[in-house]
């Protein structure tokens, strides 16, 4: 039998090798899920996972109706900020706030200003590509926005990046004057998760009579989490002053190196 192989022409030998290749004991593996898990399970996620298993209690105790929920949240927030050591979960639709001891906050932000906001396109294209009505600020003198869209979550996520300008200095972590991100939290629940430590102030505010949070002071960590609680790596970074609010079924977040008043004015102009 080896004799026959020895007598093969090069072409026959090549074909024979292709045949052998088709009969090798290749493993049949599906690594996609593991790879995604590894990409999304950054140190932040591991820290979140290691937290004491007490989430959900507040969630269950809080009323479902938005207004009453907001009031209850505001009270709870005050309590939590006051005690500072208590780990708990609070939120707006699409927002989870994680309180953590200072020591567990991540240190340096990712190198560069790569914000992983998705794909850069025009505003008109963004409006065609996502499942919600894209809203933008009006009359705040922000100039033109760079528009980014991401396919995750499935309803899409749009980010508007405004350059720094007088009165709106470049953010320490974004390099931009203002960064606004919007997505539809209620359809494909994607949560903005905030890791808040001592030194970060969390204030319950309102944008057009809807509940909102203003994070200021020490940088805090920002991450998006899908409906299974898996964080996406695309926004695991430190964040500066941030306003998070709800507009209909949209959840919006605005990050700027500006005052609460300025952030609220910009947010109120978004339509």
């Amino acid at each position: 039998m080896a004799d026959r192989l020895r007598a093969f022409t090069d072409e026959q030998l090549e074909r024979a090798l292709a045949d052998v290749g088709a009969h090798l004991a290749y493993p049949d593996l599906d690594v996609a899920a593991v790879v995604v898990r590894r990409l999304t399970a950054q140190p932040v996620a591991q820290r979140i996972a290691r937290q004491p298993a007490r989430p959900g209690i507040l969630e269950r105790l809080l009323p479902r109706r938005p207004l009453r929920r907001a009031v209850a949240l505001a009270v709870a927030l005050l309590v939590l900020v006051a005690t500072a050591a208590v780990a708990g979960r609070l939120g707006l639709p699409g927002l989870r706030i994680i309180f953590q001891p200072h020591a567990t906050l991540p240190s340096p932000p990712p190198v560069g200003t790569h914000l992983f906001l998705g794909h850069r396109i025009t505003l008109a294209e963004a409006r065609d590509q996502v499942s919600f009505r894209v809203v933008v600020p009006h009359g705040e003198g922000l100039g033109p926005a760079e528009v980014y869209v991401s396919v995750v979550p499935s309803g899409g996520r749009v980010s508007l990046v405004y350059r720094a300008r007088p009165g709106l200095p470049a953010g320490r972590f974004t390099g931009a004057g203002v960064l606004i991100t919007e997505f539809r939290g209620s359809i494909d629940p994607l949560f903005v998760k905030k890791l808040v430590a001592t030194g970060t102030n969390v204030e319950f505010v309102e944008v057009r009579a809807e509940p909102a949070y203003w994070f200021s002071g020490a940088p805090h960590e920002l991450t998006y989490v899908d409906e299974h609680g898996r964080p996406f790596p695309d926004s695991q970074r430190l964040a500066g002053n941030t306003l998070v609010w709800v507009d209909g079924d949209l959840t919006l977040r605005l990050e700027c190196r500006c005052s609460e008043g300025r952030a609220l004015r910009i947010a109120s102009s978004v339509r």
Binding site: A2, R6, R15, A18, D19, A25, Y26
Partner: protein
């Protein structure tokens, strides 16, 4: 987001901007060939799985360095083959390829040509054994080009050599394979002489 499946270039572009969902789709598209590539280098399922996982993670973080107008597959295979090679070296173990047990049904996607289908199981075993005895450079060029059916360009990417050198390496590897067959016994196996391979 709805509708048509995304093209490879679009998926790569999305993934480059941090879209893990898009990258997951790329992983699904290319894991088949990636696993096989790693298996050729390492010769073990568990080792190949680890190497491929690591390679996909590394490739994700290397995406900003990927030239968008180039084909993705050869670029990915370079990373996969590198990862597998480095791991095998550190394990200081020689890869030994094996045939799938309980043959007949080919494990590849493409149906073999009638001529090739006539290759006997024993002949395959002899060939694999002969390839296993080759030195790594010869084994890998044969593995990538013939076992996996990679193009010359992809073979070059996986080997980490210029595309122009693949032909000459293949010619040398085939010569050495013939030499290895000269010293291989197996002519007494049952079924010798049956069938025919085009000639």
């Amino acid at each position: 987001m709805e509708g048509r499946p995304l093209e490879e270039a679009e998926l790569v572009e999305w993934a480059r901007h941090g879209d893990v969902g898009a990258y997951e789709e790329l992983v699904r598209r290319y894991q088949h060939v990636a696993v096989r590539t790693a298996y050729l280098v390492m010769g073990g399922a568990a080792e190949a799985e680890d190497a491929v996982q690591e390679a996909f993670v590394k490739a994700y973080y290397a995406l900003p360095r990927f030239r968008g107008d180039a084909p993705f597959r050869p670029w990915l295979l370079t990373i996969v083959a590198n990862e597998a090679r480095n791991r095998r070296k550190s394990a200081a173990r020689r890869a030994r390829l094996a045939l799938r047990a309980g043959q007949d049904r080919p494990s590849g996607d493409a149906a073999p040509s009638p001529e090739v289908a006539a290759l006997e199981e024993e002949e395959r075993a002899i060939l694999v054994e002969a390839v296993n005895r080759l030195r790594e450079q010869d084994r890998m060029v044969i593995g990538y080009r013939y076992f996996l059916g990679l193009s010359e360009r992809e073979t070059a990417s996986a080997l980490g050599v210029p595309a122009g050198t693949v032909k000459s390496r293949l010619a040398r590897a085939l010569r050495r394979l013939r030499a290895a067959l000269e010293t291989t016994s197996g002519g007494t196996l049952a079924g010798a002489g049956e069938g025919g391979l085009g000639g």
